[in-house]
Amino acid sequence: MFYRENGQFKSSYRADLALFPIAQDRWAMLALAAIAFVGAPLLASDYAFRAVLIPFLILALAAIGLNVLVGYCGQISLGTGAFMAVGAYAAYNLQVRIEGMPLLLSLLGGGVAAAVLGVMFGIPSLRIRGLYLAVATLAAQFFVDWFTNRVAWVTHDSSSGSVSVQTLRILGHSFDTPAQRYLLCLALVIVFGLLAKNLVRGAIGREWMAMRDMDVAAAVIGIRPVYAKLTAFAVSSFIVGVAGALWGFVHLGAWEPAAFGIDKSFQLLFMIIIGGLGSIAGSFFGAAFIVLLPLLLNGIPRWLGLSMSTATSSHLEHMIFGALIVFFLIVEPHGLARLWSTARQKLRVWPFPH
């Protein structure tokens, strides 16, 4: 009733290609941006920033990156944690070793380093497919784990193996409070989100999707597999690398290699599967789900007034988390993004569904 496009006519090709063709969507997005930029900093507590909003934004960014590779190009990767680690450590080294290096350039440099590694580990994808490739990408994970643990140069010869970043300054403005850090992440996430959204709508995105649907057929109609697959790896790892650098610099502050272990890779894969493969909005849904679920599960026994040992509750949390994942995969294998689009479709035709 309220959500329909009757009377909204397009009179130019530009309007036809708009990101949000329906006016209500545009208003909703603007309202969402206003809430995110103005409402949240005014209302949210420091705890909410640290435990919910900042991790959500950064993981959503990483999920977008992974979605480009898995959801759009169809190459399953289990090495996302490694690319995050490379982004974080490269940015750290740029920051520490070069005097007066601007923070934003370091973050982007982390992305570039991750992209280079991504292309290197993407080369086997030209020959190896499917589950074989998925397992082969674990090679990147374990190699980077080992590299960051053993090679002292990476951690700037710190004795404990952990590194830390004290101050975040951009153009003389320092980001100290959680709210400021949140705004920094938000700005970056929006920039990269729009970038990714437009990439996947463009020619290159269509090439990726053709590769995903059937690579032999795509090659037959003239899409170069080498170019399509390697650009997907490069773009994906770049975004994941920037997210990794943010995760280290903004969320953790001080970290060691274990922060980017194989668990992180699986967590990100969960996000895009639950959120929806091949959907930018899905990456946000998935990240929100995976960030909020453990917090909820943690809180439930407290709200119900049950007392149980931490070990028991952590095992229960594990079980419920796993069961919910299986449940979601069964009821909606296409992820939350599909639920969202179904709901929108229902709204458009309501109250006359035929």
Binding site: A139, F143, W146, V216, F321, L329
Partner: protein
């Protein structure tokens, strides 16, 4: 030369154990097309069940024969794994027929989470031990040929023998029984098997049970070597390169892959690792598997991947 042979034997025996875990993957992948990331959790669950039942049974029934306790615990743990297999089929797999591989893979990760939690909730999360009476003292052979002889770990040797016996049994089961024939039919073609009256659901329960039993044997062997604790589920990560090296669908591939990875790991650690700062065995196996896959994308013995447009 003596040292080289010792390393070689050590690698072969570890490789046999990797093969045992990899076998669980291959069996389940062949019959249901599911790449079972929960195999590690199944090993942990089975090992925990075995360890705790062998501790509880004597207390419940008031006997103190370790042999009886171990046999009883093994049977009970096997029953547990069958129940797990049945639940997995009933609650998850049945509803996920015809989904793409990655969805199934994620579902098994979820199942793995549930099993991790359930196992530690039911059986406790401390470190336990399994004692099935394997001899511990090392064996020295060929001391006439080499200076000082070859030092062999008898425990490893018995484990490798047990693994070999299990593989033989499984091969017989697959080749000689009618259930085995049905399993092979399902592995070849789900639809064709269904159309000649093979009940797919029951076959999946059977194959997950067999996977569970293999996990149990692997759990008992690894558990008696390293003790039973959460880290035992990470053994599965060692088995991944084995599976892709040998080919996802090949039982002989899993065994040969295990041996290659086992030997390769030990050799690389000793002969290359020193130059790189050590600890390279974690990723060396993967890089080795990757190198082989670049030449043969379907692994050493996997079914050839045919593209149809």
């Amino acid at each position: 030369m003596g040292f080289f042979l010792e390393t070689l034997f050590g690698g072969l025996m570890v490789g046999m154990l990797y093969a045992l875990v990899a076998l669980g993957f291959v069996l389940i992948f062949k019959a249901s097309g599911v790449f079972n990331f929960a195999q590690g959790a199944m090993v942990l669950f089975a090992a925990l069940a075995m360890a705790r039942f062998s501790e509880w049974l004597p207390r419940w029934f008031g006997f103190d024969s370790p042999v009886l306790a171990n046999i009883g615990a093994f049977v009970l743990a096997a029953l547990c794994m069958i129940v797990v297999a049945w639940l997995v089929e009933r609650l998850a797999l049945r509803h996920l027929v015809n989904q793409p591989g990655i969805t199934l893979l994620m579902a098994t990760l979820g199942i793995g989470n549930v099993l991790d939690g359930a196992g530690q909730l039911i059986f406790g999360s401390a470190a336990y031990k399994i004692d099935v009476g394997m001899p511990k003292e090392p064996l020295i052979v060929l001391d006439k040929v080499f200076d000082g002889g070859l030092l062999l770990n008898t425990e490893d040797m018995y484990s490798a023998l047990a693994a070999a016996a299990l593989v033989t049994l499984l091969t017989l089961f697959f080749q000689k029984t009618s259930t085995g024939r049905a399993l092979r039919a399902v592995a070849d073609d789900h639809q064709a098997a269904q159309s000649i009256g093979i009940p797919l659901g029951r076959i999946w329960v059977i194959v997950w049970s067999v996977g569970g039993l293999v996990a149990l044997v692997a759990g008992v062997i690894w558990g008696s070597k390293l003790g039973v604790q959460y880290s035992i589920s990470l053994v599965a990560l060692k088995a991944f390169p084995v599976v892709i090296l040998g080919g996802l669908t090949s039982v002989p591939g899993a065994i040969l892959g295990g041996l290659i990875i086992g030997v390769g790991e030990k050799m690389s650690e000793i002969y290359i690792g020193g130059h790189l700062g050590g600890g390279i065995e974690n990723w060396f196996a993967y890089v080795l598997a990757l190198a082989v896959l670049l030449i043969r994308p379907q692994g050493l013995f996997g079914d050839k991947i045919i593209d149809r447009v």
